[in-house]
Amino acid sequence: MTDQVTVFEDHKNQRIEYSTCYMCACRCGIKVTIENDNVRFIQGNRNHPTNQGVLCAKGSAGIMKQNSPGKLRQPLLRKPGTARGAGEFVPISWEKALDMLTARLQNIRSTNPDKLAFFTGRDQMQALTGLWAQQFGTLNWAAHGGFCSVNMAAGGLYMMPFAFWEFGDPDWDRTKYFMLWGVAEDHASNPIKIALEKLKRRGAKFVAINPARTGYQAIADEWVAIKPGTDGLLALSMVHVLLERELFDWDFLIRYTNAPFLIIDAPGSSDHGLFWRNAAGHPQVWDMCTQNFADGMEAGSNPSLSLLDKHITPAGRTVRTVMSLMIEKYLDASYAPEQVSKITGVPAETIERLALEMAQVAFEETIEIACEWTDWTGRKHDKFIGRPVSMYAMRGVSAHSNGFQSARAIHLLQILLGTIDCPGGFCAKPPYPKPVPPPVKPAQHSAPNQPLSSSPLGYPTGPEDLVIDEQGNPKRIDKAFSWETPLSIQGLLHMVITNAHNYDPYRIDTLILFMANMAWNSSMNTAEIQKMLVAKDSEDGEYRIPFIVVSDAYHSEMVNFADLILPDTTYLERYDTLSMLDRPISETDAVCDSIRHPILKTNRDVRAWQEVLVDLAGRLQFPAFVHENGEKRYQDYKDFIVNYQKEPGIGFLSGWRGKNGDQHLRGEPNPRQWEAYIDHQSFFQHHLPLNIRYFRFVNQAYLDFAVEAAYIPKAEPMFIEIYSEPLQRFRLAGEGVYDGPRPTQPADRERLAKYFDPLPFWYEPLEQQRVSAEEYPFFAVNQRPMMMYHSWDSQNAWLRQIIAQNFLYMNRQRGEHLGIADKSWVWVESHNGKIRVQVKLIEGCQEDTVWTWNAIGKQSGAWALSPDAPEATRGFLMNHLISELLPEKTGERRLTNSDPITGQAAWYDLRVRIYPAAPGEEGTWPTFPTIKPLPDEPRPVDRLRYHTHPPVNLKS
């Protein structure tokens, strides 16, 4: 098309830069037009594997994030003589700030490194922060996974070679039936939206299971209004339906899972429920052809599923298969749709139909891709067989105290259907698949001036791996890897402030938080947490948490409680890596990683947090960061990323390695690696050849490839563990018969015995077990608005025009029945507190559930918003209703309100009662004091007319 009358903008003063978005965790590729050092336009990068040219509202609104008046401008120190939280700060130079911090940290490191607690929030560089903590030598490090969605990671990785979240995705181009469990609008954002359109275009069916119908569920072919926290039960009822009709993939179970493995059946003994192993330590199977026992890890046997039989070993022990246990468990009437319907609220007919629909698609609409490949036994195949049913689940399932077992239940459904890493199924994203669970154990000991022997986080496989002292007490401040939550593989950031305040298990000295809003939306029980942050010790008069360092780019509520504020840059002003060592951006068919680089000059006295970490690592003489003579090994972050090697040839970035930049995945450091990434639009993509695209957990060529790329240690098959032996070990410990560490407190014993079922099962969420459903008749949960990411976006001038106040959404018929009018103000009470909020009555809400948008409510004055912003006066947090501790029980120590297995914060277990506010009672409650503006923080403007050049008028 051409046009004679339009005048176009002058591109001469513009430049195009490619980088990576940071407005949420998707990490889309962005193409940024910059004009005179201002952002003209941010659009999706068409060539980028994650977003393929599209961009969400948040991504496009990056302009207003860059121009937020809430940006931090300089390092600040709490004004001497003023109280923490009073909001009085004085500028301090970077040199002074870092000298002060170095001295403090040096003292901690040389005496008791665990006195430093270092926790990160929206951290996209955990490989670096984890290495830093390991080199410092503190056990007390984790990112925010514990309060985010660790259940999805752990639930998957203790059962399968990969998981939901960033570890796997449906094969979007081939799946014919997609089931979405719970809220997932924030993870993933653009990839799921792109995919849903593909499904719809192809005529695939999209089923959404969620108590709310907004977001993705709006366009679902079928919406299943489930009661919160019952997803696992629904999945297991579908398992019941499939087993009852013998609708499962026999081949898949026998070849790729531990369903045929034999388990010792000797109740009361120390090895009950463990695999019966041979001298080599391998689990055994019963070979139906030789009618004898065989090694389950050797190729060539014909294992029997021995559905109803038990076997007697030569030594006279009774053993039975995993499959026989599954049959016994899941065919029980308690999983029948009629029973399950009463708890989930989903009609029995729907449960049965959905299960049969999936079986129909999996087994009658099978797809085949012609391709020669060889499995781990050396067997050659001429095609990949696909069962095109796929699922995805995220936070909605995760944020319950039964989320770990519920995630496993959903995976079990996929496994029975044989839809794992096959065409049209649920597929791994490199560096996954990995062995089940990944072979990394958490560090257990710290010592002065010593790095930890491994990462502070890892995957325990038995009680021996816990991080506890000789009395069995936690060694970490968040009590991760203790009897209370043994498999807390991502820590429990939501417990750090409470435990540190209570000196439980000990008093720390310094708390460093990076980009974690723990004084507001990221903590349960926000008002009490704020009190803890300023509480003083009655004896020494010091703060109970003596020193708090906060690094953030913006004036969050947490920044207000810092003693030292270290201002970070924006995402357009710094170098970053989205690394294969960490949370890469791979697709199911490609290895991908990416970078950010400074495309704008900063105009403030700020430093990227990763630069500060590398600097501190040198100052503190971390062995991995200094030469033997004590000189710094790395000039800066950029230098570190290029030259650090985890093992020879393996570094943070996979692309353009080797001296000449001509090697990928493995190769010597390339001094011009950053430039190579920048030349290639800031990402690296290595497409997997077709023969290593599927069944990778047993695909020999893939296994060899993954060893070469250092994703896995050995080219051995990675079988699916339907039955989890690690869980059984903990259960034996709880039962008091384990041959190893055992807990002493009754609460721990009971929890281990009850919840560490080696087969997926469902139980009522823990808080709900202690709160009366009659007294608190509603479930209360959060959903994620697609145009806002957690607390970040209320400062965004454009996004807050879309939403600046959240409401409590309630089923219309139910609300009318209770005499609650649309838009009226109501009180919402839980066992922990009460809030006053404004209601909206809608149809898209399960009748026993209320929900709201997450993290819209703000503390007055934060984020450089005007004190009367609706986020503070009418918006609200549900957090005030949620306790970080379970309701008290006589004779029991206070326990975390988390999944008893993983420590995942149980945000969505909340039950509430609701009643109309009195006439005239309006506005949100509770309210908080207005946070003072920081020095040099600009005052909110009345009018904003953002543009990068005067308008180019049309010729008229």
Partner: protein, 230 residues
Amino acid sequence: MRLGLVIDLDTCVGCHACAVACKEWNTSGTTGALTDYHPYGAEPSGVWFNRIRHFELGDYPHNKTINFPMSCMHCENAECVTVCPTGASYKRAEDGIVLVDQNKCMGCNYCSWACPYGARELDRASGTMKKCTLCVDRIYDMEIPEEERQPACVLTCPAHARMFGDFDDPESPVSRAVRERGGYELMPELNYQPSNKYLPPRPTRPIPTENLKKRGIRQVKDWIHQAVTR
């Protein structure tokens, strides 16, 4: 040529990506800046060319949530043009885009009263009426790569729920989509003949389960053990 948009209600998830991409392009566009009032204050508002409505159909549990983006429809019979006293509002003969000449507009609001779709926005800072330009300053700019010469909203839509093209060409993707998917215009009874069209949600494919149901319950003792070599 008759340019316009097709919006797919089957895939629109209501994410507001189109609205924000429009805002960021057009605030430095031919009628920019698009003013924001009290952007950090008690009642943030501003000039937007594209707004997303959300509403529900049917009563629980048979309800459906509809996300409905609305912007200028670039009507064939554009009353906004007819009522304009200064000639600022005009419809281009060559491509059917309805525009407002910012040099002629005096902000009298007649056009916004004439528009039944709520597509016009008065910028109180400039005192002029503004509206969707179909990114006329993108789609013809030969310095922009050809595949990107589309309105910002179409370029960005993550659910590919927006299409842009020429309705006069019966073989254009927009004409085909309207033909094949039963695309419709809003408020045809007014005879404004809007260019933009909406595609209704697709019917759901039924998945037969009768055969599997007929299999019935099978006792485990009746299952036939399958020999599978590990």
